[in-house]
């Protein structure tokens, strides 16, 4: 019953091809996210204009004989095709042609085959043409899909309501495409609702509990950390003495073992005497040190239960002189240091700290040194935390309100006040509040107290669509946002939170659509450290830092914290570039880096940095500077234990040239490596050039990546490369008794390559080429900022404004802070 047609094979293959292979351009090799990366590449990308004459000539020479006016084998005619793809069916037709070429099906085996260069050119040009056509056809005309809050924005919005810092682990990380803010890519599922519900309920429950539970009477708990070690020292010392006495008195072995089971046999007992002096040094010293004066030396840790959101006093008594400060931390955060004048025989240090709403216990850690002796720790509390100004939530839901027998109206008023802010002052209906009161009454009727009865209705508010979704009025046509909507979009862009009072007020008085006002709000907001989350999250998504997370680093580098530092470098660098308003040239090359001590050492810089990241000027001799030389970028561009010019080239095309390569087509012939040859990475990758189907794209990817060959797969500078390095041997578990490796053969690194017709000799040359093409980088960053800010892909309708804004920015040498301001004040940013 299955299809029985004589020319089935031909028709079927046509049909297959019709269905396969049209993708939006994706992702570097091997890296897949929920959605393939959309092409931001405009038709004016580095691909250049379509050479239709050459394309026609190819078809004419190789195809039209069978698929032309006279013959239409398989019902296919190729002499009348329009190279300007205007509709979906045309995409499909071109895709068919591409697919039969990619799989070597056409021209048929018995016909003359096109020369490799011609085929490479044709496949490459048609692939690019389809890519841009697909983007054009998927365009929505600038429609922005409503979206729900990202994890960053959810936490920011909850922190705004509750006035407390929330743990990042409250929600799982978002799974997203290019930017997490793009509404069209979001699919809301039950799972997400449950995550929001769980997180909301936890925050609300803890807050209500903190308000409702009265402050217990403060008490003081004294902890004598010395007691345990002092007693241990005494016991060890006394055992020593006893054993010695027994041996000297000639006691039988069985008696000795009773005192010290570690003495294994009589021979050892004899030896014991000889070694006694040496072995007893430590117990004696410890005993002497603690004898009669109670104390513990070195570090210690102490955990007690505590009340959330309260203040505590900590008194630490030390017995012997300290050299400088010793850090004291509570629940992993530093709260101060033990410090006092040396020479004092006994001094005490008093510290205060507060517990957060999530702290139900306190762990005190003192990182002391060996020659320091502590006597005791006294913890007093809980006290009312004077530092805590009442939060918005505490003002709305006061302790008094919870304890009284509130009427429905009072409960409704309380819920309404909370809900209005949660819904970003975009309106709350009385019917909604009435439903919430109903839920509250259900809980009361079930026997819960007032605080517990508020958990569900309040959780309902922070899981309602008006809270979880950003609401922008729209009748289906594009329109300018209201000032309030603009304020909300602006605040979520720059801060990842709702607007603060000042911004809300300015919008409410219609004062925000004013050049000076918006400028001063921008400066205020970007200057605040609340903008760190934007600068970090945006650049991390732009740079695809999650690709770095997926690389398995050598254990040594993970253990010493290098991985964390390397991951952070790009965002620390970007924060400096933006806040100091540097030119975007710095992303390609800069005379400084922003590093911590670990990275400074990794890069061979002589520094002595305090904790954290700092700007460090590079010496003339250093090859570092710019994003390309950052360890995380270089390591992302690796494959196993070798560099991957393909991934590096892809990343450069995506980020720096705004020209993401199309995804690899299916069914192309595989590249094989001849057996027994030892190749450099460049020679290995160059094998793509031998197959037209591969070369058509790889010729525009790999040679760019060659420019970074002086950086090995871990991002270290090198001038020589080991031949035949590959991933599969190095990372597999070593077999026992494996043969010693033969001596490694090394050759000088060749970092020459090209971008289209622009050749370069080495890494510096690559940087020069990229600087020459920096308009592409500007476009990449501008479009990405805009896309992130408004929550949709950039389309052709945006082009005119973007070109205008970029030419303004170019005349100022592309300053980065100014670029963000320009994006935010563009008409597109204010349009729904």
């Amino acid at each position: 019953m299955f299809l029985r047609l004589r020319n089935w094979r031909l028709k079927m293959s046509n049909y297959v091809m019709r269905l396969t292979s049209l993708n939006i351009p994706a992702v570097a090799v091997g890296v897949l996210t929920l959605f393939a990366r959309p092409a931001i590449a405009a038709p004016d990308s580095t691909a250049g204009p379509l050479d239709t004459a050459a394309l026609s000539s190819f078809l004419e020479t190789h195809c039209v004989k069978c698929h032309g006016e006279d013959k239409q084998k398989g019902d296919i005619r190729l002499d009348q095709l329009d190279f300007q793809i205007k509709e979906h069916s045309a995409v499909t037709e071109w895709q068919d042609i591409l697919d039969v070429l990619n799989t070597n099906e056409m021209p048929p085996e018995d016909e003359t085959q096109p020369p490799t260069e011609e085929l490479t050119f044709f496949i490459g040009a048609i692939t690019d043409n389809i890519t841009s056509a697909h983007k054009r056809l998927a365009a929505t005309g600038g429609k922005i899909s409503m979206r729900h809050l990202t994890k960053r924005e959810y936490l920011g919005s909850m922190e705004d309501l509750f006035g407390i810092e929330l743990p990042r682990t409250l929600l799982p990380d978002d799974v997203s495409g290019e930017f997490d803010t793009i509404g069209a890519d979001q699919f809301f599922s039950l799972k997400q609702y449950e995550n929001f519900y769980k997180a909301g309920k936890e925050v609300i429950g803890k807050n209500l509990l903190a308000i409702a539970s009265p402050l217990p009477k403060p008490t003081t708990l004294r902890h004598d950390p010395e007691i345990v070690p002092a007693e241990a020292a005494k016991a060890a010392y006394e055992k020593m003495i006893k054993v010695k006495a027994l041996i000297e008195a000639g006691a039988p072995f069985s008696e000795i073992v009773k005192v010290d089971p570690k003495v294994a046999d009589e021979g050892q007992a004899k030896l014991f005497i000889a070694r006694y002096d040496k072995r007893s040094v430590k117990p004696i010293a410890n005993y002497e040190k603690t004898k009669g004066k109670k104390g513990v030396s070195g570090s210690f840790r102490y955990t007690v239960e505590s009340r959330p959101r309260s203040s505590y006093e900590l008194k630490i008594v030390a017995l012997e002189a300290l050299e400088g400060d010793v850090e004291v931390s509570v629940n992993g955060k530093s709260v101060g240091a033990v410090n006092f004048e040396p020479g004092q025989s006994k001094t005490s240090t008093e510290l205060t700290f507060s517990t957060s709403i999530f702290d139900s216990e306190i762990t005190i850690e003192v990182e002391g040194r060996k020659n320091e002796v502590y006597d005791s720790v006294a913890l007093s509390g809980p006290f009312e935390d004077k530092q805590n100004k009442p939060t918005f939530f505490e003002k709305v839901v006061s302790r008094e309100a919870l304890n009284s027998d509130a009427s429905d109206d009072e409960i409704a008023a309380m819920l309404k006040r909370f809900t209005e802010r949660a819904f970003r002052y975009q309106g709350v209906s009385d019917e909604y509040i009435a439903e919430l009161v109903k839920v509250y009454r259900l809980e009361i009727a079930a026997g819960k107290d007032a605080a517990a009865s508020l958990v569900e209705p309040l959780t309902a508010v922070v899981t309602a669509p008006a809270f979880l979704y950003l609401k922008e009025k729209n009748d289906g046509t594009r329109r300018i946002l209201s000032q309030q909507e603009f304020a909300i979009r602006m605040a979520y862009f720059l801060w990842g939170t709702p607007p603060d009072r000042e911004l809300y007020d300015l919008a409410a008085s219609n004062g925000l659509y004013d050049d000076d006002a918006v400028r001063s709000q921008f400066e205020r907001m970007l200057g605040s450290n609340k903008a760190d989350v934007f600068l970090t999250d945006f650049i991390n998504q732009w740079a695809d830092i999650n690709r770095f997370d997926e690389i398995d680093l050598p254990v040594k580098l993970i253990r010493n914290g290098f991985e964390t530092s390397a991951r952070q470098e790009i965002s620390e660098f970007f924060k400096v570039l933006v806040r100091e308003n540097h030119s975007l040239n710095h992303l390609i090359d800069s005379d400084f880096v922003v590093v911590d001590e670990k990275l400074a050492q990794y890069y061979g810089l002589k520094t002595d940095l305090a904790e954290g990241f700092e700007k460090v000027t590079l010496p003339e001799s250093s090859p570092r500077g710019g994003m390309l030389t950052q360890a995380a970028f270089l390591i992302t561009g690796s494959s196993g234990a070798r560099t991957s010019p393909t991934i590096r080239g892809t990343l450069i095309r995506e980020k720096f040239l705004n020209d993401a390569p199309p995804p690899p087509p299916p069914n192309v012939p595989a590249v094989e490596n001849p057996k027994g040859q030892k190749l450099t990475v460049k020679q290995l990758v160059d094998r793509h050039q031998n197959v037209a189907q591969c070369a058509s794209c790889h010729d525009k990817i790999d040679p760019i990546g060659y420019g970074l060959e002086n950086f090995d797969y871990l991002g270290n500078w090198r001038t020589e490369e080991v031949l035949g390095g590959d991933d599969s041997d190095k990372k597999t578990k070593k077999k026992k008794g494996a043969k010693a490796k033969p001596a490694l053969e090394k050759v000088a690194v060749d970092a020459s390559g090209y971008l289209k017709d622009q050749p370069f000799e080495d890494f510096e040359g690559l940087q020069q080429v990229l600087l020459k093409n920096r308009d592409r980088l500007a476009l990449s960053l501008y479009e990405s900022l805009l896309s992130y800010g408004i929550g949709r892909d950039i389309e052709f309708v945006d082009d005119a404004e973007i070109q205008k804004k970029l030419s303004d920015l170019k005349s100022q040498d592309y300053p980065l802070k100014e670029m963000i301001f320009t994006v935010m004040t563009s008409r597109t940013f204010a349009t729904k």
Binding site: L19, G30, H88, F188, E431, E435, N474, S728, T732, D793
Partner: protein, 426 residues
């Protein structure tokens, strides 16, 4: 039956979901309580296999043609497994997406006016017929791998609307879902149901007032939200229905933390068997990881690099080890099915259909995708053979349609199917 090419093209242009949906209701009506339940398990494995050592070339009974080197671990089941060659998922286009459209057949990147569009998956359709009498109509199991050749999506399963269905990714979570005892009394549950309904009423009324101010597109977006909330209500109602039936006692020990990837997949397999054994569900999909399993076996190699095994003889060797390792896993899974009975005393293997495959054949190749099935749930399906279909690139959707019909799902059309495969049926 012959097929009109023009109509097929028109259908394909229209997109596949649209046609599949109207049939759903009729499936539900057709459902009746089966005395001898049937079960279905779909495993998808991402990147493909080693071309010249995994795939058999000769057609015939495995007992005659023998097993290839890659499939050798399945030898003890050679009279029960069937492999079908010359299939191609016409919806697949991306050479790194073995799983995105594996059970849907949708052409996700080429639906007019959409950046990404998928359609309902086979398991969801099957569950409408055979999954209605159990605590869970389907169980969706998945991995959290991003580099294993699965492509976009969260699991193999996609909803009616073509939205990704998130899966359970760890043995601990799966165990809790299957055997964790609810702390809620039935009274508390009724209460929670009333509460949720009230909250839903609240948001619905709030939504009504704002709805008018939103574009059609945004209203659709919000509909996803309401769908989720309604689903909670349905789930609680279902829990109420099942409240009198306590969860089964587990035939297995509770899994612990800190398993390596190989151990985790083995445990997932045992829990799949336990889920069927206790009749907790009758339809399961599992998007199986590669990288973590290899790591558990002591091989640290990115699965994508491994799929390009032709570049290096050492890689080829590892690729072959990988094939065998996964076939060993499948063989032991079949062993477990064969050794267990369900609650009615039926043999688990004889009452199940197990399907194993991917959109990806080998390297970047998507033509001739690997398709293996086994189990006795569908009496008429041939067992123990390598079937080579006469036409290259026969739609994978035809394979799914055949499997669905054979286990009693009354569908005439699925995704881009053009018919059923008589070659598979005796």
């Amino acid at each position: 039956m012959s097929i009109d090419i023009q109509n097929r093209r028109a259908f394909l242009k229209a997109g596949s979901t649209i046609l599949a949906l109207p049939l759903l209701d009729s499936i539900c009506e057709a459902q009746a309580a089966a005395p001898n339940p049937k079960r279905a398990l779909f495993i998808g494995f991402g990147f493909g296999c080693t071309e010249d050592t995994f795939f058999p070339t000769e057609a015939g009974r495995f007992s005659d043609i023998g097993m290839t080197q890659g499939m050798a671990p399945l030898k003890r089941h050679q009279n029960d497994i069937t492999m079908v060659s010359n299939l191609t998922n016409h919806g697949a286009s991306h050479p790194h997406s073995g799983s995105t459209s594996y059970l849907t057949g949708a052409n996700v990147y080429n639906t007019p006016g959409k950046k990404f569009h998928n359609s309902v998956s086979v398991d969801q359709l099957v569950a409408r017929k055979i999954g209605q009498d159990t605590r869970y109509p389907t169980l969706t199991l998945s991995d959290s791998a991003t580099q294993d050749g699965h492509g976009a999506g969260l699991s193999l399963a996609w909803s009616d609307k073509g939205h990704p269905i998130p899966g359970i990714t760890t043995p601990i979570d799966l165990y809790a879902q299957l055997f964790g005892q609810a702390k809620e009394s039935s009274q508390e549950r009724e209460f929670r149901l009333a509460q949720k309904r009230s909250i839903l009423d609240g948001v619905t009324s709030d939504f009504k007032s704002t709805k008018r101010k939103l574009s059609k597109n945004d209203q659709d977006k919000l509909e996803d939200y309401f769908q989720s909330v309604r689903q909670i209500e349905q789930n609680i109602s279902r829990e109420v229905e099942w409240a009198e039936t306590p969860k089964p006692k587990s035939p297995l020990r509770e899994p612990g933390e800190g398993m390596d990837g190989l151990r985790a997949v083995k445990t997932m397999h045992s829990l799949i068997v336990a889920a069927f054994q206790t009749d907790s569900t009758r339809v399961i999909t599992f998007r199986q990881p590669i990288g973590s399993v290899l790591l558990g076996h002591g091989l640290n190699l990115n699965p994508h690099s491994l799929s390009h095994y032709g570049l290096d003889p050492k890689r080829r060797e590892v690729s072959q080890v990988k094939d065998r390792l996964f076939m060993e896993l499948l063989a032991s899974l079949i062993d477990q099915f064969k050794s267990k009975q369900d609650l009615n005393g039926q043999n688990l293997f004889e009452s199940s259909l197990i399907s194993y495959g991917s959109n990806l054949r080998s390297g970047h190749g998507i033509r001739g995708c690997p398709a293996i099935y086994t189990g006795g749930a569908a009496e008429k399906l041939k067992r123990g053979e390598h079937i080579v279909l006469p036409e290259q690139d026969t739609p994978l959707a035809n394979y799914w349609l055949t499997l669905m019909q054979q286990i009693g799902v009354p569908l005439e059309q699925f995704s881009h199917s053009t018919g059923t495969l008589d070659e598979m049926v005796s």
